[in-house]
């Protein structure tokens, strides 16, 4: 099973911009969900929806309130890094393997990135309010989770089975 990495510099720059903002939000615990919606270019329908639920673990919230930079340095009861990496690897492996059950994407597609943010979040100009981009009659598959000291991430993929 191959994992493909984009080499398109435009896509890289695009994702980098998103990730920069996500980083700020994640550190301050402002977002609860990250959605990657794969949309058909022809029909505009959402055909696949990857949802990553972000749970900010209790200890972090207070830390984030007092100051996000300090919260990063709390050595107490920390999870070993190898374990975290293992969990992340497991998810990536699972996502890669999901091509076996996900329907084949017909035609040309694009993707959108959504976040479920707190109401009082500060959003840069590029981020605008949107609908949830849900899929009607979607099949949902819960994938693995992973957690760090600060966050717990649940993964869920939703896809439409089409006519079948």
């Amino acid at each position: 099973m191959n994992m493909l990495v984009t080499i398109d510099s435009e896509v890289k720059a695009y994702i980098k911009k998103i990730m920069g903002q996500l980083h700020k939000w994640l550190v301050s615990g402002k977002i609860s969900k990250l959605i990657v919606a794969i949309t058909s270019k022809d029909t505009g329908e959402v055909v696949e929806r990857w949802q990553f639920d972000v749970q900010v673990l209790s200890g972090t919230v207070s830390a984030a309130e007092s100051g996000s930079s300090e919260s990063a340095k709390e050595p107490d009861h920390s999870k070993p890094q190898e374990e975290i990496q293992k969990e992340v690897q497991a998810i990536i492996r699972q996502i890669t393997a999901s091509v076996t059950f996900l329907p084949v994407l017909e035609g040309r597609c694009t993707f959108n990135v959504l976040v479920y943010a707190d109401g009082d979040v500060q959003a840069p100009v590029e981020w605008v309010d949107s609908d949830a981009k849900t899929i009607k009659n979607a099949e949902q598959v819960q994938l693995r989770s992973f957690s760090t000291d600060k966050h717990k991430i649940d993964t869920l993929v939703a896809y439409s089975l089409g006519d079948a």
């Binding site: 398109d8 435009e10 896509v11 720059a13 695009y14 911009k17 998103i18 903002q21 609860s32 084949v104 994407l105 040309r108 694009t110 993707f111 959108n112 990135v113 959504l114 976040v115 479920y116 943010a117 707190d118 109401g119 009082d120 979040v121 500060q122 959003a123 100009v125 590029e126 981020w127 605008v128 309010d129 949107s130 609908d131 949830a132 981009k133």
Partner: protein, 528 residues
């Protein structure tokens, strides 16, 4: 709060939802929930300029649902002021009273419920409140109240409170190249010969000579190119020698009246030319001296094909017999191969002289062992006369044979096992086959309909190029001694030269290794 200080246009339109008096609104930091979103207040219909309202509602990128959520959220602050336009027209005092009267926050009283519903309905068009200075107690009470109907409204609408769904607006970059996933998932096991891998072959002739009077007969072999770089071509009764090095032409011989030359073939050293005649005579000529060395008669019919193996000359006759002549001895006929029922038109010794391949008008390919007079293999796969025969220069036991107009196939044989290893349907009569000594390729010449020269890669059998060579069927071909140039002559009476296996500076030396000096050869091979 930063967005508030530097509001850009799209955000402002979305977030501030027709509130022209926003800047005048005091901040209510004490409430703890205030934010950029909590500011929008809903001025009454009378105070709101109509223009603003229509503009924000009609905007495509703020869906109705969001507006509901927004206005819901905005109620926090709108409720801080007096709710002048609510249906009940509650005054500030009454409102304060009502708020204090509430005890159970889970069961909102009827008035509150009414308010929330009416708020929801009204939120689209207009609402009330102007900036007013409330007391601190008043504001906390109204926050409590607004929380209640906010939750109830949110429950009714199925909207999670305190969250916004944000989308990264810029569209994802388009892929510049067309994406074809089939190439990813459906990879061929063997990469096809694509345009880049294919060798570039010049499709124009290097030189064209006239060949008037060339007999249009498939079963004859009237063209050969010696290792001394001389081209022999038989035009009816006369054999001409054209020197590729100097461009000079000389007439070697004329046959006697009533006969014509039916085949020519150079000996291996390029010094002698064997000539087959229509009366069954086989003559050997010294080209340097332009003298006939000997005449070997005996065949009862025309000799359509000849092949040399050192001092042995094999001749194929119209009666189907193949005679082997030892040109050194008086009793020249040393053996006879008889297995063809019709005219022999293809005859080719293997380079090492161990095997002889013959093809005939009886559609049979015979592979003979030099020591035996019975064929080692007899192949009947072709459905037409087999004239085109060629032994592979890099794989000794590989023989290619091409069939005539009813057959149109090239078959490849393993002459050790007799197995057919490959086949090509060319779609046209195969008149001759030549292996390239420089490339792993074979060129075939064809008749009707296109009179192509086709170059095939071996063993992939992919067609490299088709060259429309002549106006009528290509009858004979011959390769130059350096292996780069192919001579073709056709019934349109043209003799053409094609540099189809141009060496690009490699392998020339090895190709000319049979000659005295490869370097010299490359120089002399320039066709003038």
């Amino acid at each position: 709060m930063s967005t508030f200080s530097t509001p850009s246009r799209p955000v402002r339109r979305t977030l501030f939802f027709n509130s022209p008096n926003v800047p005048k609104q005091p901040r209510l930091d004490s409430a703890g929930t205030s934010s950029t979103l909590s500011f929008p207040s809903f001025p009454s219909m009378t105070t709101t300029p109509r223009k603003h309202a229509t503009k924000s509602i009609g905007k495509p990128n703020s869906p109705l649902r969001n507006d509901v959520a927004l206005s819901d959220w905005a109620l926090t602050s709108s409720a801080l002021g007096s709710v002048n336009s609510t249906p009940g027209k509650i005054t500030k005092k009454e409102k304060a009273l009502r708020a204090s009267a509430k005890v159970d926050r889970f069961i909102p009283n009827r008035q509150t419920s009414n308010t929330s519903i009416s708020k929801l309905e009204a939120s689209e068009s207009s609402n009330t409140s102007t900036a007013s200075s409330d007391t601190a107690t008043d504001s906390t009470q109204s926050v409590c109240e607004s929380l209640q109907y906010r939750t109830s409204v949110a429950e009714a609408c199925g909207i999670a409170l305190n969250t916004r769904i944000l989308e990264f607006q810029p569209a994802a970059p388009q892929s510049s190249k067309p994406v074809d996933l089939r190439s990813q998932y459906n990879r061929p096991l063997r990469p096809a010969a694509n345009a880049q891998a294919r060798r570039k072959v010049p499709t124009g002739p290097e030189r064209v000579l006239d060949a008037p009077g060339l007999i249009d007969d498939y079963y004859l072999n009237l063209l050969d190119w010696s290792c001394g770089n001389q081209v022999a071509v038989a035009l009816e009764q006369t054999v001409y020698i054209w020197s590729a090095s100097t461009g000079s032409v000389s007439s070697l011989m004329d046959s006697t009246n009533g006969t014509y030359v039916s085949s020519v073939r150079w000996s291996g050293d390029g010094a002698y030319l064997s000539v087959g005649l229509s009366d069954g005579d086989v003559q050997i000529w010294d080209v340097e001296d332009q003298t006939k060395l000997r005449s070997m008669s005996g065949h009862s019919a025309r000799v359509g094909v000849l092949s040399w193996d050192k001092h042995m000359l094999s001749s194929g006759c119209r009666d189907g017999s193949i005679w082997n002549h030892d040109v050194r001895v008086a009793q020249h006929k040393v053996s006879e191969f008889n297995n063809h029922a019709a005219e022999v038109c293809g005859l080719e010794w293997r380079a090492d002289g161990a095997q002889l391949a013959s093809g005939g008008n009886d559609n049979v390919v015979n592979i003979w062992d030099a020591r035996s007079s019975t064929p080692k293999f007899t192949k009947t796969n072709h459905k037409a006369a087999v004239k085109a025969l060629a032994w592979c220069p890099w794989q000794t036991n590989l023989l290619a044979s091409g069939g005539g107009s009813q057959d149109k196939h090239i078959h490849f044989w393993n002459s050790t096992t007799g197995a057919r290893v490959n086949s090509i349907d060319t779609g046209s009569q195969v008149t001759s086959l030549r292996w390239s000594s420089l490339y792993k390729e074979i060129v075939s010449s064809h008749g009707f309909p296109n009179n192509y020269l086709s170059i095939w890669s071996y063993p992939t059998l992919t067609k490299n190029v088709d060259i429309q060579a002549h106006d009528s069927r290509v009858l004979h071909t011959a390769l130059s001694p350096d292996g780069q140039t192919l001579a073709t002559c056709a019934s349109d009476e043209n003799l053409k030269f094609w540099k189809i296996f141009e060496s690009m500076g490699r392998k020339v030396a090895s190709a000319g290794s049979t000659l005295a000096s490869g370097k010299d050869m490359a120089k002399t091979m320039m066709i003038r």
